[in-house]
C-alpha cells in the first residue's frame, strides 16, 4: 500500500547550485540530478530524516520537514498504528526498529531535581577546590585483614578504576562500524574510562586498548576465545538488553562482512543470531557457574559484570546476581538503544531505569550485600545531570551509548537496522564507514565526557560535595516533582517542598 511519505524534502531552488552533494551523501538514494531539466529531484518515500544532506548542503538549500498529509486523526488509532497494521497485513512480518523507545513514556530523570547548598553549609567551587570523580567498581571485602607486621593487607578482589563514573556501553563491531569502535576505544583510553565490545568480539587492531575495554560474552558466544577474554579490563556477561529484554541479538548477513565475520568467528554473509537465553544458563546457579568459569579462565584477574535488562522483578534478580560471584551488575532500562529490535518488544517490554535502579540499590542494602557488587546503570542516561541523579539514587557508574553515538554524529534517525547509516556509525559499507573519521570521532567523545565531568563537578560543588563517593546513594540530595506517593516511595526520595 502506498502512502504519502512521512517526510518532505524542501529544496529552495534559488539557493541550490546543483553541486549534487546531497545525491552523493544519501545512502537511501533520495536525491538525484535530472540533467534534462537541470534540476535536483527527490524521492521522499526513501527519506529517513537523518539530516545528512541538510547538514552538508553548502548553500542551506535543504530542509526535511514532517509531512502534514496524514490519515484522519484518531487518538486511539494513530497514523503510525494504522500504517504498521497495513505493513504487517502486506508482509506478514515482525516490525523492526532501532535506537531507544521513542514513545512518550515517563522520563523520571526529568521529574527529579537536585539540591544545592545555601547558608547552613557552603557550596564548593570546582574551579578553586579539588573535586574528585574517580570511582572503583568491584567487590569490597566484608572485613579488613592485616599482614603479620600489622599493616593493612591491601589485596582486593579485582577492581575497575574509572576517572569518572561514565562508561561507553556495549555496541558490537558489526552493529557499528570499525571507525566507530576505533573512536570509542581511543576516547575511552584517553579518558581513563572503559568502552564495551558488545557481542561481536574484539578486532585485533583494538587489543592495544585492552586496559580500557570491557569484553562481552553474550548468548551467541560470537568472537569469544581465551585471548579475547584476557584482553580486557573486565568481562561482561550479557543476559539481557533494555531495548529488547528476553530476546537475543540479530546481525543481518549483509553486515557480517569481511573483518566483522572474522572477528565474530562466523562464515561471511551468514546471519549472526544469538539465542534468547544463554543455553547454559537456565537459572541462577548456572549463572554462578559461568561467572566462575570466566574467572577461572582469566585466573581471577578480572572483575565480571552481569548485565541484565530492567524487568519487573529486577530487585530480586539483582540480589541473586549479587550472590552469584559477579563483581558488578549492569542494569539496562527500557529506553536503552539498540541496533535492531522487534518494535513491539522495544516499545513494550521492561521498565524504566530510574525505579529499577532505586529498587535494586535498596534491596541490596536491605539484604546487607550492597558491598558485594557495584551497580552500573544505563538505558537512557542523556546528560551530566542524569548521571548525578543516577549516582545519588545509588549507582556506582553509568553506561551511555546513544549519547556516545550522538557525539560521533548520529542524528537519531532510528534506521540503524537498515545498515545504511549515513553518518558512518551503524553501517559496514566502506564508503559510509569512512565518513566517520576516528580522529574526529574520538575527539568529540573526549569533548563530551570532559564537558560532562565539568558539569558533574559543578553540580556536586553546588551540593557541597567534593568527591563522587559522597554522592553515591545520597538520596537526600534529590527531590521529586509531580510524582505520586508510590513513585516517590519506590525512588526513595521526598517530594519538592518536603
Amino acid at each position: 500500500m502506498n502512502f504519502y511519505p512521512e517526510f518532505e524534502v524542501v529544496r529552495n531552488d534559488s539557493r541550490c547550485i546543483r553541486c549534487r552533494v546531497c545525491e552523493r551523501q544519501c545512502a537511501n538514494e533520495v536525491h538525484w540530478y535530472d540533467a534534462d531539466g537541470k534540476v535536483m529531484l527527490s524521492d521522499e518515500s526513501k527519506c529517513v530524516n537523518c539530516q545528512r544532506c541538510v547538514t552538508l548542503c553548502p548553500t542551506r538549500a535543504l530542509k526535511i520537514v514532517k509531512s502534514d498529509c496524514r490519515l484522519r486523526e484518531n487518538a486511539n488509532y494513530s497514523d503510525q498504528t494504522i500504517k504498521e497494521i497495513y505493513r504487517q497485513a502486506e508482509t506478514g512480518g515482525v516490525l523492526l526498529s532501532s535506537m531507544g523507545n521513542p514513545n512518550p513514556l515517563p522520563v523520571y530523570w526529568d521529574k527529579i531535581l537536585i539540591n544545592a547548598s545555601q547558608v547552613t553549609n557552603p557550596p564548593i567551587d570546582p574551579l578553586r577546590e579539588p573535586m574528585e570523580t574517580r570511582v572503583f567498581l568491584g567487590k569490597k571485602p566484608e572485613h579488613i585483614t592485616r599482614n603479620a607486621d600489622g599493616t593493612l593487607n591491601t589485596q582486593l578482589a579485582p577492581q575497575l578504576t574509572l576517572s569518572m563514573p561514565v562508561m561507553f556501553s556495549a555496541m558490537s563491531y558489526g552493529s557499528i562500524s570499525y571507525n566507530a569502535h576505533a573512536s570509542l576505544a581511543r576516547a575511552a583510553s584517553a579518558l581513563g574510562i572503559c568502552y564495551n565490545t558488545g557481542e561481536g568480539g574484539l578486532h585485533e587492531d583494538f587489543y592495544k586498548y585492552g586496559k580500557n575495554t570491557i569484553v562481552q560474552v553474550a548468548s551467541g558466544r560470537f568472537g569469544v576465545h581465551k585471548d579475547y577474554l584476557e584482553a580486557g579490563a573486565a568481562i561482561e556477561i550479557k543476559m539481557g538488553q533494555g531495548a529488547k529484554p528476553g530476546i537475543g541479538g540479530h546481525l543481518p548477513g549483509t553486515k557480517a562482512v569481511g573483518d566483522v565475520a572474522k572477528t565474530r568467528m562466523i562464515p561471511e554473509g551468514s546471519d549472526a543470531i544469538s539465542p534468547a537465553p544463554h543455553h547454559d544458563i537456565y537459572s541462577i546457579e548456572d549463572l554462578r557457574q559461568l561467572v566462575y568459569s570466566l574467572k577461572e579462565a582469566t585466573e581471577y584477574r578480572l572483575p565480571v559484570i552481569v548485565k541484565v535488562a530492567a524487568v519487573h522483578n529486577i530487585a530480586a534478580i539483582a540480589s541473586g546476581i549479587a550472590r552469584s560471584g559477579a563483581d558488578i551488575i549492569a542494569i539496562d532500562g527500557f529506553r536503552g538503544g539498540t541496533g535492531a529490535a522487534p518494535t513491539r518488544i522495544r516499545d513494550n517490554d521492561g521498565i524504566p531505569i530510574e525505579p529499577a535502579l532505586a529498587a535494586v540499590d535498596k534491596r541490596l542494602r536491605d539484604e546487607g550485600i550492597r558491598n558485594n557488587v557495584s551497580i552500573v546503570c544505563g538505558g537512557s542516561v542523556r546528560s551530566a545531570s542524569d548521571v548525578v541523579k543516577a549516582i545519588a539514587l545509588g549507582a556506582d557508574a553509568c553506561y551511555i551509548a546513544t549519547a556516545a553515538c550522538l557525539a560521533m554524529g548520529c542524528h537519531l534517525c532510528r534506521s540503524c537496522h537498515t545498515g545504511k547509516c549515513n553518518w558512518g556509525i551503524a553501517t559496514q559499507r566502506p564508503d559510509l564507514v569512512k565518513r566517520l573519521n576516528p580522529d574526529i570521532g574520538s575527539q568529540r567523545l573526549i569533548n563530551l565526557m570532559d564537558a560532562w565531568r565539568h558539569e558533574i563537578k559543578e553540580l556536586m560543588g553546588g551540593m557541597g560535595i567534593n568527591s563522587i563517593e559522597a554522592l553515591r546513594g545520597n538520596r537526600l540530595m534529590l527531590r521529586g516533582v509531580g510524582l505520586t506517593e508510590k513513585e516517590l516511595e519506590i525512588l526513595g526520595i521526598a517530594h519538592a517542598g518536603e
Binding site: 547548598s117 547552613t120 553549609n121 557552603p122 564548593i124 577546590e129 579539588p130 574528585e132 574517580r134 570511582v135 572503583f136 569490597k140 571485602p141 572485613h143 579488613i144 592485616r146 599493616t151 593493612l152 591491601t154 582486593l156 577492581q159 542494602r365 546487607g368 550492597r370 558491598n371 551540593m463 557541597g464 560535595i465 567534593n466 568527591s467 563517593e469 559522597a470 554522592l471 553515591r472 546513594g473 545520597n474 538520596r475 537526600l476 540530595m477
Partner: protein, 364 residues
Amino acid sequence: MIPLEGQVRIPSGCAVSAMISRDGRRMNGEQIIQSMVPMHDRSNGLGGGFAAYGIYPEYKDFYALHIFFNDKSCQNECMTLLKEYFEIVQDEHIKVRKIPQITDEPIIRRVFVSPMQSVLRHLQIDEKELVVRTVNRINAQLDGSYVFSCGKNMGAFKAVGFPEDVGRYYRLEEYEAYCWTAHGRYPTNTPGWWGGAHPFCMLDYSIVHNGEISSYDANRRFIEMYGYKCTLQTDTEVITYIADYLLRRQGLTLEETAAVIAAPFWSTIDAKPEAEKQMYTYLRNVFPSLLVTGPFSIILGFEGGLMALNDRLKLRSMVIGEQDDMVYIASEEAAIRVMAPDIRNIWSPAGGEPVIVRVKEGAF
C-alpha cells in the same frame, strides 16, 4: 505541628571545646564550662552538652547508662527490658541543680549495668555488641526512653539550653575527668528535645561536632546496612556510628579511620610513596561510602584519649593549644584562652589532618 528531631533532618551550626590531660590528671568541669562562655553566640540555647572520661572509677567495670525517660511508665518499661539482658548494679538519679534557664526536664537516671553471661553465650555476641544492640533497640523502639550515654567510666550530660547553663545544671564541677569535651548547638529549627543535644555517644565513643555534612544520606544508608539505626537524623549520630563501625567492628586505627572519614585527595595520595599510596587507595576504595564531605570539625572522645578532625577542605574552624600535659581543642582560640590564659602554643591543624591525643598508658 513542628516535626520532632528524627522526623526531619535539621541542619545546625555549633561550638565545640575539649581539654585532656596526657598525664591522666583528673580535673573538675569548671574550666570546660567556662570555655563555652566566650562562644555563647555560636549556640542558640537549643542544646548543650558535655562528655567526661574517668568520672566513675569506682564503677569502672560496668557500663554506665545515662537515660532520659518521659515518665514513670516509660522508665518501668525500659528497666524491664534491661533486666532481661543485664544485671543492674546501681540505679540512681543524676543529681541536678534547678536553675531557671533549664526547664521541661525529663526523668534523668544513671544505671550501671553488667551484661549477663548466659545472654552473651546464647546470642553468641560479645558484651559491647549486646550493649550496642540493646541501646539501639531502646532508642528506636521504646517511645519515651532514650539512652544518651552507655560507656564505661565515662558519661555524657546534655540538655536543651546554652552549654554553660547545662554544665551548671548537671553540677559538672562535682565530677572529675581526665578528658572533657563540650558542645553548644545552633539548630536552625527544632523544638527542644533533650536527646537531640550533643555529645552523641556509643559505648565509650562520644562525638561533638560542628558542621553540616553534605554526605549525610550516603553515610546513613551505608551504615544502616550494619545494624545501626539513625533515628535522630543528625550528623553527629551518623559520625558516631561510622567511628564505632570503623574502630570497633573493622578494627581500623584512629589514623586509618581519619583517612576514611576525611580521606586525602587523590592528588595527595598519588604523590605518596608506594606503600602509603596503596594503603590510602585501599581505604578509599573499600569504604567510599564513609567519606564525610561538607564542613565539619569533630572531636571524638574514647577511653584514654581523643581525636580532633576537620573536613578535608577545613570549612570549619578548629584550633589546638598545648601546654605541659594539657591539650586544648576548640572552635575558637578565645575558648582555649579561658582554659589556659598564658598558653603559647596554639595552632590550626590542616583540613583532614587528625590530631590524636592519648593519655599515658596506665594513667586512666
